[in-house]
Amino acid sequence: MGRSTVTAYAQVNATTRALYATLLTPEVWHALIQSPSFDALLGQLDKTAYGAYLKLERQILTPRRTVYQLRWHLTQAYEKLIRLTPEPGRQLLIQLWRLYEVDNLKATLRGIETGASWDEVRRLLSPMFRYVTLTNDDIQRMLASGTIIRAIERIRHTPYYETLIHAVERYEAEKNLFPLEVALDLDYRRWLWQSIAGLKGMDHEQALRLVGTSIDVDNLLWAIRYRIYHHLSVQEIINYTLPFGYQVRDADIRAIAEGADITTVVKRIYPQLEGLEETAVPLKGETSPQQHQLATLERALYRHIGKLCRGTFLGDPFHIGIQLAYLMLLEYELRDLIAVVEAKASQLPVERLASIIDIEWR
C-alpha cells in the first residue's frame, strides 16, 4: 500500500465511514416495519438520515413523492463520494451511478409509451444532476417528442443512442419495450465491467469482488426469471445474459437455461450461501413453487452481497471497496425502504412486510 494511496483515500474514507454510521440499524428497521400507518412511518423516518429530505408539507408527501425524496439521500451520497474519490476509482463510481440514469431512461421510455407528461414522470425518476449524460432537459424533450423513435433521436449525444437506435427496430416490429430495456441493461453492465478492468491492485480486486458479485447476481437472476416468468428458449436466455462475470460462468447460465435445478447450480457457485432453505410466507403473485423459490434465492443472494459489503469495512481501508460497499449497502437500504413505503401506503399487513424485508444481516 503506497503512501499516495493512503493520502488519496484518507478524506473519502473518513467521509464514507461517517456516512456508513448513518445507515439504518436493525432496530430502526424493526420500528419502520412495525409502523402502524404511513404517517407513523414518516414520523419514524424523520428521525433518520432521510429526515432532512422529508421536510415538506404533509399533504405534498404522497407515497410517490416520499419515495422520490428518499432517493435524494442516495443522490447526495453518490455525488459526494464521486467528488472525493481519486481517479481511476472515480470513473467506476460514475459508471455505477449511471445505473440510475439507465433506470431513468427506461422510465422515460415507458412514460412515452403510455403518453405520460413530464409532471407524471418526473417523480418516478431518480434525481440526478451531476455526473450524468442524460439531463432532465433531455428527458423532457424525449417525452415531448411523442414516439419512441423520435425520442431516441433526441439523445444522440448520449452513450445510449447507439444501443437504442439499433434495438428500436425490434421495438418497431414487436411494439414492446422489452428488447430496448434488455439492450440497455446488457450494455450498461458491459461498460461497468470495462470500468472495473481499468482499475489496478487492491482497487481492482475489491471492485471485482463487490461489483463483480453484483453483476453475477443480476446475471443469474435474469437467467432464472427468463426461464420461469418469460419461458424463453435456451438460445434466448443465453443471448439476454452476460458472457462475463466474477464467479458465475457461462456453463452456469447455460445449465439454468437448459432447465437444471436452480438451487443446485447456485449452491455450486456459492457453496457457503445461507438461507436458501428458508420458508418465507408466499407472496402475492407467486403462483408457482418455482417463483417462491426465486424469491427465497433473491433474499439469500442479496444477503450474501450485504455481508460482503459489511465485511469490506474490516481490514485495509485504503481502496475503492469502502466506497463501493457503502454505496451498495445504501442502495439495498433504499430499495427496501421503498418497499416499506409502498407497503405502508397499500396497508400491507406488518407480518407480510416483515417476511419481505430481510433485516438479519444489517
Partner: protein, 659 residues
C-alpha cells in the same frame, strides 16, 4: 458608493382584478425586489392560488412544445425582447402552438421517413457489395428449401454470444463487414432449425436486412437499382428540406414572439403564485430602494387607485434578508464583478468595490512595472471598455480593470525605468527592482501592512455601523487587533534599528494590553454586548483556547504580512524574465538583426500574456484572501428587481432536494 442603497420594505395590497396589471407594472419599474410567500417573515399563513399554479404548469408544457417545434425547424430562441411582451393565456398559447405543430408535422415526418429510407437503402447496398461479383439470381436465395439464410446487422459485442448460444445447433456465421460497433453478417443453418435460429438471432439483436422483392437479378443489378432508389430518396429529402426552410422563414418571428410571450406569462404566473392570496386580494411584500419609493407609488397609481402601498419598518427578522443594491459608477462595474465573484456584500456592511478599485491596480502595477507592457494593457483595456470588439462586448466591464492595471504598470514602469524589458532607455525615477532587491521586498511589505490595516479599518467601520461594539473593539480584526499589529510592527522595526518615534516600553505595554484584549476577546465581546454566559466552555478549556487563539492571531498576522512579499518578488521576476528574453535574443542573432527583434517581440508578448496572467491571479489572491478575509463575509442577498423576461433556460433549472 461605499454602502449599498438604503432599502424600504413595502407591502402592496392588490385587488384580484388588478393583480396582472400591477405585477406587470412592478416588473416594468425595475425597482421592486419581490419576496415570495415562502420567504416572508410576516408569519401569516400562505395561500397559494391554484389557478396561477395551473397557469405555471400549463405554460411550462407549452414552452417545451414551442421549443420542440423551433428545434425541428432549426430556429433558435433569439435575444430576449427589451420590453416584456403581452401576457398570453395558456389555452390561447396551446391553440397557437397546436396549429404550428400541425403545420410543421407533415414535412418533418416525411423528411424523417425519407432519411430512414435512405439509411435502409444504403444498408442494402452495403450488404450486397461483398457479393457484388456473384453471378447468381437473388430470387433463388429468397426461397431456399433446405437451407436457412439470414442477412443482417448485429452489434459486434453480441457476435460471440450468438455463436455460444447456438452451440448445439448446426450453423455458420460469416461476418461480411464491420461498421463502427455494428457488423453485417450472414447466418446459415438448416431450414428445420429455422425457428430456433430466428429466436436466437433476434435475441442477439441481429436485425435482418431483407432485400425487398422489387430488387431482382444478380447482386450487381440489385445494387444498380438500389443506387437509383438512393438518388430518388435524396431528391425527396432535398425537397422536404426546402419546404421546411420555407416554413422556418415564414414562422421564425411568430415562434420567437410566442416563446417569449409564454415565458413572460410563465414568469408572471410564477410570481403571482408567490403572493399571499387573501379573500379577494393579494398581499405582496418586497424591497424597494428608499430613493425610488415615490416613483414606485407613482407607477402603481397610474395602474390602479385601488392598490394600497404600505411601508413597513424593517424588523429584527429582516436582518440578513435585506437585498443589497450596490450603487457604484458604471466604470467600476468590472471591480464590482470581481467583488461579487467572491461574495455578495451584506446590506449592512461596506461595499468593498471602491477599496478594490484602488488597491487592485496598485498591487498589479507594483508587480508588473513596465511602461511598454502597461501601455499595451491600457490599450487593450480601452478597446474592451469601448466595446470595439463585438465578440468581447460582454467583457467590457473588465476593460476598465485591465486599463487601470495597465496605467498603474506604466507608473511603476516609470519608477523602475523599464520599457518593454529595456532597462537602459531611460533612467529609473526611483530604482530598478532587479538591482535593489531588498528595497523592493521592504516596499512590498510596507504596502502589505497598509493594505492589512485598511482591511481591519473596514472591519471596524462595519462593526460600528452595525453597533457591534464588542466586535469593533476586541475582535482580532478590530481596534485591539490593529493596535496589537502596529505595536508588534513598531517593536520589530526598533529591533532592526529603525527610528520609531514611540518608546519601546510604551509599545510593549500597549501591545500587551491589546494582546490581553485579544486573548479574552470572547469574554469582553459578550460583556460589552450583553450576551450571557460570558464564556461558553469551562474556565480551563476557555483559557487553553484563548491562549491558542492569541497564538493563531500572531501567526496569521505574521503570515499575512509576509504574503505581500510576493509583490516584490514578482517585480524582480518581471525584470529577470525580460533579461532572459534579451539573453535568448542575443544567442539567436546579433543585436539589431531580424532574429534578435523577432525573439524580443515574441518574448515580450510571452511576458505580457503569461506573466500578466500570473500577476493578475496573484493580485486577485491577495485581494481575496489577505484583504477581504479581514472584513468581508459576503453572504448577502443581491437586489434583483422583479422581471418578466427570464433568461433562456432558467425556467427549467434543476431543483434541489427540498423543492
Amino acid at each position: 458608493m461605499f454602502r449599498p442603497q438604503a432599502m424600504e420594505k413595502v407591502e402592496l395590497i392588490i385587488p384580484e382584478r388588478e393583480v396582472v396589471r400591477t405585477t406587470e407594472a412592478l416588473a416594468a419599474s425595475g425597482i421592486f425586489h419581490h419576496i415570495p410567500t415562502t420567504q416572508t417573515t410576516t408569519g401569516m399563513p400562505a395561500r397559494v392560488s391554484d389557478e396561477w399554479q395551473t397557469w405555471t404548469a400549463d405554460l411550462m408544457a407549452v414552452e417545451r412544445r414551442i421549443l420542440l417545434v423551433m428545434e425541428e425547424l432549426k430556429i433558435n430562441e433569439g435575444t430576449p425582447p427589451l420590453t416584456p411582451p403581452h401576457i398570453i393565456e395558456p389555452r390561447v398559447a396551446e391553440r397557437d402552438i397546436e396549429r404550428l405543430e400541425h403545420e410543421a408535422e407533415t414535412p418533418i415526418r416525411e423528411l424523417e421517413a425519407a432519411r430512414r429510407r435512405l439509411l435502409q437503402l444504403q444498408k442494402y447496398v452495403a450488404q450486397l457489395t461483398p457479393i457484388a461479383n456473384l453471378e447468381i439470381d437473388l430470387g433463388t436465395l429468397r426461397h431456399l428449401r433446405y437451407t436457412f439464410v439470414m442477412l443482417g446487422s448485429i452489434p459486434v459485442a453480441n457476435i460471440e454470444r450468438l455463436e455460444s448460444s447456438l452451440e448445439h445447433i448446426p450453423f455458420a456465421l460469416i461476418t461480411l463487414r464491420h461498421e463502427g460497433h455494428l457488423a453485417t453478417v450472414v447466418l446459415f443453418g438448416l431450414q428445420q432449425d429455422a425457428v430456433a435460429l430466428i429466436r436466437a438471432a433476434r435475441s442477439a439483436y441481429l436485425n435482418p436486412l431483407p432485400l425487398p422483392e422489387d430488387y431482382r437479378g444478380t447482386p450487381a443489378q440489385a445494387i444498380a437499382a438500389l443506387q437509383a432508389g438512393i438518388e430518388r430518396t435524396r431528391q425527396h429529402i432535398s425537397e422536404y428540406e426546402t419546404e421546411i426552410a420555407h416554413l422556418q422563414e415564414m414562422r421564425i418571428r411568430h415562434l420567437r414572439h410566442l416563446l417569449w410571450r409564454v415565458r413572460a406569462s410563465h414568469a408572471l404566473a410564477n410570481t403571482i403564485t408567490g403572493y399571499d392570496h387573501l379573500q379577494h386580494t393579494y398581499l405582496v411584500t418586497g424591497w424597494v430602494p428608499k430613493a425610488s419609493h415615490a416613483r414606485l407609488e407613482q407607477i402603481i397609481a397610474q395602474v390602479s387607485d385601488k392598490v394600497v402601498i404600505e411601508t413597513l419598518e424593517p424588523r429584527q427578522e429582516d436582518s440578513g434578508h435585506i437585498p443589497a443594491s450596490l450603487k457604484n459608477p458604471s466604470f467600476l462595474s468590472g471591480f464590482q464583478g470581481l467583488v461579487t465573484t467572491y461574495g455578495q456584500p451584506n446590506y449592512d456592511e461596506l461595499d468593498p468595490t471602491p477599496l478594490m478599485a484602488l488597491t487592485f491596480p496598485l498591487v498589479f502595477g507594483l508587480m508588473f512595472g513596465d511602461v511598454g507592457h502597461g501601455l499595451l494593457l491600457l490599450l487593450v483595456g480601452l478597446l474592451l471598455a469601448g466595446r470595439r470588439i463585438k465578440a468581447l462586448q460582454s467583457a467590457a466591464g473588465f476593460g476598465v480593470v485591465v486599463a487601470l492595471c495597465g496605467a498603474s504598470a506604466m507608473v511603476f514602469g516609470t519608477l523602475y525605468g523599464s520599457i518593454f524589458g529595456f532597462e537602459d532607455v531611460f533612467r529609473a525615477v526611483w530604482f530598478r527592482p532587479l538591482e535593489e532587491i531588498t528595497e523592493i521586498l521592504l516596499f512590498a511589505i510596507i504596502v502589505g501592512v497598509l493594505l492589512i490595516s485598511a482591511g481591519i479599518i473596514y472591519n471596524i467601520t462595519n462593526a460600528a455601523l452595525n453597533r457591534h461594539w464588542g466586535r469593533m473593539i476586541f475582535n482580532r480584526n478590530g481596534l485591539a487587533g490593529l493596535i496589537f499589529y502596529w505595536s508588534l510592527l513598531g517593536l520589530g522595526a526598533r529591533a532592526f534599528g529603525a527610528a520609531v518615534p514611540i518608546p519601546g516600553a510604551v509599545l510593549a505595554i500597549v501591545g500587551s494590553l491589546s494582546g490581553i484584549g485579544l486573548t479574552f476577546a470572547e469574554f469582553f465581546e459578550h460583556l460589552v454586548e450583553g450576551h450571557r454566559p460570558l464564556i461558553e466552555d469551562d474556565v480551563g478549556t476557555y483559557l487553553a483556547l484563548a491562549f491558542f487563539e492569541l497564538f493563531e492571531t500572531l501567526i496569521s498576522l505574521f503570515s499575512n504580512t509576509l504574503s505581500y512579499v510576493r509583490m516584490g518578488a514578482f517585480a524582480v521576476a518581471h525584470g529577470a524574465l525580460s533579461l532572459v528574453v534579451f539573453i535568448i535574443a542575443e544567442v539567436i542573432g546579433a543585436r539589431g538583426s531580424i532574429g534578435y527583434w523577432i525573439v524580443v517581440i515574441l518574448g515580450n508578448l510571452f511576458v505580457i500574456g503569461f506573466e500578466g496572467m500570473i500577476v493578475g491571479i496573484q493580485t486577485l489572491r491577495l485581494e481575496y484572501y489577505e484583504l477581504f478575509s479581514k472584513f468581508f463575509s459576503g453572504g448577502g442577498i443581491p437586489f434583483r428587481p422583479l422581471s418578466l423576461i427570464p433568461k433562456a433556460g432558467k425556467l427549467n433549472a434543476p431543483e434541489n432536494a427540498g423543492s
